[in-house]
Symmetry: C2
Subunit: 378 residues, 2 copies
């Protein structure tokens, strides 16, 4: 039997293919216009089918957040892989094994101690790892600030230790906290300028720095110029979500990931419908809680994906979602959404919601549904 939105078991993670393709093309075209390579972050989807669509549109290489992702994507034919989380010494053997099998895996570091561990392990094993130095351009997490002495110290440990100093990379993750075009453009420029400055310092010191890699979905889409940058990374743009809607880089109509759910009960006096998408399906991500509009655990849409304005998942237990109307209770909730009604919920955060599922169901404009695998864990 062919799956349809009426026969799929629920909860299910749906990808609206038309929207996904539009999101992919929008980003790729913007990168082409700005004259930089685009290396999508596949941590959002952990899905080979999605990454192939990104590659078909012009992406070059991928970014991963775990070595399991690297292994899975390498097995599927992706060979140019950047592992963009600070390299833990105990994972070097796993990284080496991937390189020995032919994977062009790059790794990153932001400290002298871990740079030394990389260089020592590389020399012991006769391997010149490709290493990028993580630069901190917004203070939100990891990295060395462009002007710090540590930048050159780490670079020298790697370069003089026989590793390939491949370049610098940064991620202005604090762009997620902004919500005006002006602030986003300024953050994109701050990210660019800081990373280019770090690259210049390395080059002025006679050190190699071929790659200047920046990116987050908001800064990638809002950057006005990327002079000095060689590649951009972004992940969530492929699906978008309600957090990105609040940041201002998409609308609800761009969100390509949703959770298909079934109405399983009502508390009519309270104006509640109970659905089978709880936090196990939506994730516990409440990323819109502090943004300009709080969508609870998600925006309710009809089964075809049309937004039902004012209806949100206002609460969630493990396998129960509470669907209600914002502000005023809907006295007709039981008649509006009878038992068995199928709805879609747009997620706060596509990376977190996708991770709750073993597979996606990709929906074509003709209503056809294909199953796309995704992986989980480490």
């Amino acid at each position: 039997m062919t799956d349809t939105l009426q026969t799929l078991d629920t909860p299910a993670a749906l990808i609206e293919r038309t929207r996904m393709q539009r999101n992919i093309e929008r980003m790729q075209q913007r990168m082409n216009t700005l004259g930089v390579r685009f290396r999508p972050h596949v941590k959002t989807t952990k899905c080979i089918d999605v990454a192939k669509a990104q590659r078909d549109a012009g992406a070059r290489g991928i970014t991963v957040s775990t070595l399991k992702e690297a292994e899975q994507f390498f097995a599927a034919g992706f060979t140019d892989i950047l592992y963009a989380v600070g390299m833990a010494p105990h994972r070097l053997a796993q990284a080496l094994a991937l390189r020995r099998r032919g994977c062009a895996l790059s790794i990153i570091t932001d400290g002298v101690e871990s740079a030394r561990a990389i260089a020592a392990f590389g020399r012991e094993n006769g391997e010149a790892f490709d290493v990028l130095i993580e630069v901190d351009t917004d203070g939100h997490r990891s990295g060395i600030r462009p002007e710090e002495d540590a930048l050159l110290a780490v670079a020298r440990v790697l370069h003089e230790g026989g590793m390939r100093l491949a370049g610098v990379l940064t991620h202005a993750g604090s762009s997620y906290e902004l919500d005006t075009p002006e602030a986003l453009r300024a953050m994109a420029e701050q990210e660019r300028a800081g990373c280019v400055h770090a690259a210049q310092r390395l080059r002025e010191a006679g050190l190699p720095c071929a790659v200047v890699s920046v990116g987050s979905t908001p800064t990638a889409l809002m950057a006005q110029a990327l002079d000095g940058v060689t590649e951009v990374r972004a992940g969530v743009y492929v699906f978008f979500d309600l957090v990105m809607r609040n940041v201002g880089v998409c609308t609800e109509q761009d969100v390509a990931l949703s959770v298909l759910t079934t109405v399983i009960g009502h508390q009519a006096e309270k104006g509640w419908a109970i659905v089978d998408a709880g936090w196990m399906a939506m994730s516990r991500d409440r990323g819109t809680q502090k943004q300009k509009r709080d969508f609870g655990y998600g925006q309710v849409c009809d089964v075809d994906g049309a937004v039902l304005e004012g209806y949100v998942l206002s609460g969630a237990n493990q396998e129960h979602g509470i669907l209600s109307h914002e502000g005023t209770a809907d006295a007709d909730i039981a008649a509006r959404f009878p038992i068995g009604t199928r709805l879609r919920i747009l997620p706060n955060h596509a990376c977190a919601t996708g991770a709750q599922f073993e597979q996606y169901h990709a929906v074509s404009p003709d209503g056809g549904v294909e199953t796309w695998g995704r992986f989980h864990g480490w």
Copy 2:
């Protein structure tokens, strides 16, 4: 090679077996004292090994939150299964298939519409489903209030429709919002009294009601008497977590689930260590945010599980956790937790954190580590 806490890849979900066993025995002994059957909710762990330990201690039957759990546990030899989420009509065929294979599966409903769907499907297929009516004793989610007319209406639809009216069940989930012994005892009594009242109404109307099933971890542990109750359900008690610590039914020293993590970097000026347990490992659950003590994304412990007072995961990205000292920055953070240091993080919510992993690593007092599978998805 045998796994140890120094060789396991990180992040990893650890079960401290001694603590788990103590938690299991504490609950079972309490239920034995109160003279009720105990039916653990396996949604917390989705792990056959844990459920076997619960059964060995005296549990009778299991509770599940999805039919996938029912199928997996039935395949592992658990035959007495209560599916404690309102039955969606489209899942009746899956439930029937389980029963036809010999699974004593009970289902629940809280509305006339879905009761009619169950009875109609049952009659069409010559199957008398065992059905419990969900009772609402605290207003937090689903169920019929004990005094509502709908209780008898639903019961008659089932009974006269040829189904086996097995009993009533309730879950006082709002107990999670309390934090004093007095309030918890009162909620346990409210849960008991409401459910027993519903059972009495059915019996007075000449309807069968053999089972009176109540429970949540806090009410199960704090109930002073359970007159009229036949069975209790609870899930998270087997691991406990920081939410339960704040509710007041365990201490940090009882929490049997933790996430093993590795230090991968520092922002020494800010007093931060960066670890490889981000929200993908901890989950996005911030259940302690509004409680008496907010633990961020978790309480930091040393690799052996001893609490490092004042150190919490104060922030989390997908694969990065930010570890810091509450209140005052730790100027010695890089020396205290050098690159490669292994730590454990106690989770806010064990059900949500466990779900992020494909397996648990069960740690014995002698340091031995066993791998226990768990499942994921629907």
